[in-house]
Amino acid sequence: MRAGTGPWRLALRRLRRDRVSLVFGGLFVALVVLAIAAPLWASVAGRGWEENNLTGKIESGGEQVDVVTPEGIPIGPQWRGEYFLGADANGRDVAVQLLYAMRNSLLIGLAAALLTTVLATLTGLIAGWYRGWVDALARSSLDVLWAFPVILLGVALGTSLAIGGLQVGPVTIGPGSVLIPILIIGVVFVPYMARPLRGRVLALREQEFVEAARAQGAGSWRIMSSELLPNIASTVIVFAPLMVANAIMLEAALSFLGVGVDPSLGSMINEGIERLITAPHLTIVPGLMLVLTVLALNVFGDGVRDAFDPRTEVRVGR
């Protein structure tokens, strides 16, 4: 008799059949590779992302032209190593800056989503398993966090931490550190993931396999880690790519509003807005990159959801 196919294998098989999701998953991987290759491109371009070049000239169309004109208008895309995507107001190379911005956005997005996942899983497990006052406390905390508009909360935290950084006991995080947006975004998204996970744990704890484990003398932590966690893993996996996409969007929004990190896709878009007519590339290029990244993650995330839990419809955000 042949052994039955496991749920993980089944999910992966379904995912493999979803070509569109795989293409967008591949696109995301390609964007990650590009971001990792940022220093390489910087060496091709011949300048770092921070390097200003306000009064420099380059050859374009057979003649020497200003990187930034005396009127403050930066040069457009040159489609070659140096200034491939043009310059910004400070004469910095937009392509180099874009790749470093991608690094920051992806790093923050991935790390924040990981933090959200860990915190939300722990909260969901503990609240759902213990119920009673533990659940009430967790639920009210999540409700309070949920009640704040995410952007407003992010801006408030980002502004207050921008001057002095964050000091918790012996741990000090300097202002401008990527850890600050990671912490902010990682925390503000916890309710979005913890609430459905808690609901799932509440349902699971009444199932026979949990009662069986309890009858065998397993303690709470053992049941949570060995019985409940594997059963909510698929939900967590379904959430993960969407959380990354949302974290990247929030990071871009915060940077757009001036409380994120530099360089970031959001801060690049913000800087470009003032020169939308004379230098549209400053807004379009990071905007497109943001759209591509989030689109890739969302479509891939939908594919993962369909593969792991085809009956449910997960939506993150309000």
Partner: protein, 549 residues
């Protein structure tokens, strides 16, 4: 003086030194404009002025219109360039008589003068005007704290109490002001917008929604905050030296987008925009509408403060390296070309300005010497020292911060940029706990006197919070010089000595100045730009000069 607040908000004191056109001779106010009389125009402001109350107004957006509504005892000639910094009698009959010890100022209110609502102007209104500034805790209250009894009035808490140092005789119209110490800038204080006469019945509260009557060529007849306010000509106004205005009605609308403002001025829906057009449209405007656009220098100084109380800028050589490396023309591109390179603290157009020919670190119009600066940093043993550069997120400031941070890294320091919200920037760098090493600063004066610039390098102004001297410059020779010169009532007599102090500060590299901002006038096609666009060095575009074709 709450100087850094001023530098934040007081673009009020923008000035024109060499603006073209306009047909103003400066000597004869009526020559400021010779265009059509009457008609209505519409002006655009990017945001609601901070206040439409002379006791509280403290920004360029408010001082520009209020200058033609509330005339102080003294005022400035309606002229361009240095002529516009000349004090002339306003509500006062003549310039004040100053006692031999420099502590008592006396002037007489013009006879028969009336407010725009017909109320006669009385000498005692001046005391009420000053009391409102003090009582409302206006940003300008510091200007009047040198009056005998002003501190007591402020701490007493009774708005109707007397200010001991102000005597007003309504019968003779004489006003006598006694100061605690001689103050050579006090005549200029009497010409600030804060001293604009208002009737004694004006309440002790912000009157922005219902601006009080004033003495001026225009009156505010309607005010809808965040929407619009309307100035109408006062036909009965007549003070020699102050032009009566040309257009009958000036409606200022709040239009948040500078881009839309510029488009509307091009299209003729708006007649004038207070702020410069966005960089994006400047090239088009210069190319296609040059006949109604001009740029003019202001009485401003943009500089990097270098905190000499903490490393590495406690070393003169490091400060010199910064001054040596700066490329003002590079920074000018971040202003869309609207920056005039300079190397002094007191800008051109203010008596006491040091000649830029004496720049110790080379011609500010030439690129900086990064190589020499790097060597200086190395010689000072400061290579690799960590530096935090402070900038704010106001227009182009972050970009300037980026340029400066990159420059410091290029000369061998290890710099990183910290961007602070513009609303709290000066409080942050002016707080001793921040220990701000270096960053962006700018100064627009409250009046045309070098003393207002010098407080940024005056050691006696250093304070733990709201420090107007973020570089903590404390040079006994400069402190002593300022204390002595500020008592001198005749500025021209000591202008060279003020310039000497400025030169000393630059030689010691206490600050790193890089330029004066240029502002703009852009008008619609229906305005007579050629004859009617006078730019005053302190108050910007003079509304009394505006006229239609």
């Amino acid at each position: 003086m709450t100087g850094l607040r001023s530098s934040l908000t007081i673009a009020a004191l923008t000035g024109a030194l060499a603006a073209a056109g306009c047909g103003s001779s400066g000597d004869d106010a009526s020559s400021a404009s010779a265009g059509k009389d009457g008609g209505s125009i519409t002006v655009a402001a990017t945001s609601q002025p901070d206040a439409l109350d002379p006791a509280l107004a403290y920004t360029a957006q408010s001082w520009e219109p209020l200058w033609v509504v509330y005339t102080p005892p003294l005022t400035y000639a309606h002229a361009e360039g240095e002529e516009g910094t000349e004090l002339i009698p306003g509500v006062a009959e003549a310039l004040p008589e100053i006692s031999a010890d420099g502590k008592t100022y006396t002037f007489k209110v013009r006879k028969g003068l009336k407010y725009s609502d017909g109320t006669p102007v009385k000498a005692s209104d001046f005391e009420h005007t000053v009391k409102r500034v003090l009582n409302l805790e206006s940003g300008g209250s510091y200007l009047f704290l040198g009056i005998d009894g002003a501190e007591e009035y402020l701490s007493g808490g009774d708005p109707d109490a007397d200010v001991a140092g102000i005597d007003a005789n309504d019968k003779t119209g004489e006003v006598t002001i006694r100061l605690l110490a001689p103050d050579g800038t006090f005549s200029n204080v009497l010409a600030t917008s804060f001293a604009g006469f208002v009737p004694a019945k004006t309440p002790f509260e912000n009157q922005t929604q219902n601006p009080p009557p004033g003495v001026g060529p225009y009156e505010i007849t309607s005010s809808e905050p965040n929407r619009e306010y309307v100035l109408e000509r006062v036909k009965s106004f007549d003070i020699p030296g102050i032009p009566p205005g040309n257009v009958d009605t000036i409606t200022t609308k709040i239009v948040k987008s500078p881009s839309r403002q510029a488009q509307d001025v091009i299209g003729g829906q708006l007649d004038y925009m207070q702020d410069p057009p966005p960089t994006d449209l400047t090239a088009e405007i210069k190319a296609q509408h040059a006949d109604r656009y001009k740029e003019w220098p202001t009485l401003s100084t943009y500089y990097f403060f270098l905190n000499e109380s903490i490393p590495p800028f406690d070393e003169k050589e490091v400060r010199e390296a910064v001054n040596t490396a700066i490329d003002s023309n590079a920074i000018a591109r971040l202003f869309g070309g609207r920056l005039k390179p300079t190397c002094s603290l007191v800008p051109e157009g203010i008596p006491g300005h040091a000649d830029s020919a004496d720049c110790p670190y080379g011609d500010p119009n030439e690129p900086g010497d990064v190589e020499a600066a790097s060597k200086m940093i190395e010689d000072a043993g400061a290579a690799g020292e960590k530096v935090t550069v402070f900038a704010n997120n106001d227009s182009n400031r972050e970009e300037i911060g980026r340029y400066y941070t990159d420059l410091l890294n290029e000369i061998g320091l290890d710099a990183e940029l910290r961007v602070i919200d513009g609303a709290v920037y000066f409080q942050t760098i002016g707080n001793a706990k921040t220990k701000a090493q270096t960053g962006l600063a700018a100064w627009f004066p409250d009046f045309a006197h070098p003393a207002t610039f010098m407080q940024q390098i005056d050691g006696t102004t250093i304070q733990p919070t709201n420090n107007p001297n973020p570089g903590n410059v404390d040079d006994p020779e400069i402190n002593k010089g300022i204390a002595k010169l500020v008592e001198e009532p005749s500025l021209p007599a000591v202008a060279d000595q003020w310039a000497g102090l400025d030169e000393k500060a630059i030689e010691e590299s206490y600050i790193a100045p890089y330029g004066s901002e240029e502002l703009t006038t852009f008008m619609s096609d229906q305005m007579d730009f050629e004859s009617c666009s006078l730019v005053h060095p302190l108050y910007g575009n003079d509304y009394t000069s505006f006229c239609l074709k």
